[in-house]
């Protein structure tokens, strides 16, 4: 679910950079309040690598396979570090593998970054008291928000006008095709959180 180069108008792409820049600046400002932000780098880098590698990992959702996004997991495990980590991952994906694009880096940063921030808020809000529910909602909700953002940007950036019927049908197919991913990521974050709480609770210290 990466917006490619050449698809959206330049104005929209620049707006994406402005939005991603603002969100990253906010995240970095929050991180600077930590006693030693650099001490968090190894964990953030590890998650960025997982995020990077996950785009190649296909999960079977019959009759097809889907690729994980892991924005929710990033938000749950990394907190405010998720936004810079996602931008770094997207940049490396665009340059090394041609996933996404240079002009759409800002927009893709918002498509993945805003859901990660939402997942962080959900996890911090309800994860302490109901960790299973928090993990499920954070993982699945992040995919839902990313779907909505992606669909909105695609419709806004479409070079020629869609007619209303086709627009509804295309959106319906797109959302239906990705609904299994909502469940899959919710489930994956839930299982991961359960395992980490038992074996390595230190990885969940943002919760």
């Amino acid at each position: 679910m990466h917006l490619p180069d050449g698809f959206v108008p330049v104005g929209l792409a620049l707006a994406g950079y402005a939005g991603s820049g603002a969100l990253t600046a906010l995240a970095l400002a929050r991180l600077r309040r930590l006693p030693d932000p650099r001490a968090e780098v190894p964990r953030a880098a590890m998650l960025t690598t997982v995020f990077f590698a996950a785009s190649a990992l296909a999960i079977p959702v019959p009759p097809t396979t889907v690729h994980l996004m892991l924005a929710g997991l990033m938000g749950v495990l990394l907190g405010w570090f998720a936004m810079p980590a996602i931008l770094v991952g997207l940049f490396l994906q665009a340059v090394l593998f041609g996933h996404g694009g240079l002009t759409t880096l800002g927009l893709n940063g918002l498509v993945f970054g805003l859901p990660a921030v939402l997942a962080m808020a959900v996890w911090r809000g309800i994860g302490r008291r109901w960790p299973d529910l928090g993990a499920l909602v954070a993982g699945g909700g992040a995919v839902l928000l990313a779907l909505a953002l992606f669909a909105g940007i695609v419709l806004a950036g479409m070079p020629a006008a869609l007619d209303a019927g086709v627009e509804r049908a295309a959106l319906g197919v797109f959302v239906l095709a990705h609904l299994p991913l909502v469940l899959a990521e919710g489930l994956i974050v839930l299982v991961l959180v359960r395992v980490l709480r038992r074996i390595e609770p230190g990885l969940l210290r943002h919760g």
Binding site: R38, V41, P42, A53, I59, P62, P84, G89, G101, P159
Partner: protein, 239 residues
């Protein structure tokens, strides 16, 4: 920072040229300038060393461009161009497909030609020199260092799961999650050791020496790219 190939341009200049040209091409709205854009990308590819490897890296973008060329005439527009049974291809959709596909392929081609020869670490150094916050540069450095290790780790875990009889089914999602959790836990410990070693060797972006400023060739290339990127949309509107 010297060029990765011992050639003309520094990593920083290549990055700036790639970004500026990408935005210049993305700003083209009409069909008239598309041949110019295509020739520009084609020439860059023809002059680049290691064309076969570059072409391999362009394959996903070419497939995506083909998908746009096929899908947009069916999904958008109102003026019929061609009727194939119950399918109607539209003029507006065909034009949109051609525009998006050409811009996509041209931008990805130029990005690959310009940035593929630069080692990823040099790219991060260039970003740091251009103002990337130290924390993000550190993050990128460690991510790159750790990428191969994690890929191998996940590959080993998947192979082990398959050897134990695990199959790729929807109901096996928890197994995938467990696999990811195991990889994360092992990766955590290893990444902290790796980071400590990198800091001791001075690899951290805030610990490393600052990259030198752009040379004459760099400045010329960046100015030429900027001129071209400004000229493309200006000509596009004028034609």
């Amino acid at each position: 920072m010297g060029d990765a190939q011992g050639g003309a341009l520094s990593a920083r200049a290549r990055l700036v040229v790639a970004f500026v040209l990408a935005f210049g091409i993305a700003a083209v709205q009409g069909l008239t300038l598309l041949p110019v854009v295509a020739v520009l990308a084609g020439l860059a590819l023809a002059m680049a060393p290691g064309r076969r490897a570059l072409l391999r890296r362009l394959r996903p973008a070419a497939l995506l461009a083909l998908a746009f060329l096929v899908a947009l005439p069916l999904l958008t527009g109102t003026t019929p161009l061609l009727r194939l049974g119950w399918l109607t291809l539209t003029v507006e959709g065909a034009e949109a497909g051609l525009l998006v596909a050409t811009r996509l392929l041209a931008i990805v081609t130029l990005t690959v030609v310009l940035l593929a020869p630069v080692p990823p670490f040099a790219l991060v150094g260039a970003m740091r020199a251009m103002g990337l916050p130290g924390l993000m540069a550190d993050l990128a450095l460690l991510t790159l260092r750790y990428l191969d290790e994690l890929k191998a780790e996940l590959g080993r875990a998947r192979l082990a799961r398959r050897l134990r009889g695990g199959r790729a089914r929807l109901r096996d999602l928890p197994d995938h999650a467990l696999l990811l959790a195991t990889a994360l836990i092992r990766a955590q410990a290893r990444s902290e050791r790796l980071w400590a070693a990198m800091r001791l060797r001075g690899h951290g972006a805030t610990l490393g020496p600052p990259a030198p400023g752009p040379g004459t060739r760099d400045r010329a290339a960046m100015a030429a790219a900027l001129a071209l990127a400004l000229a493309l949309p200006a000509l596009d509107r004028g034609l």
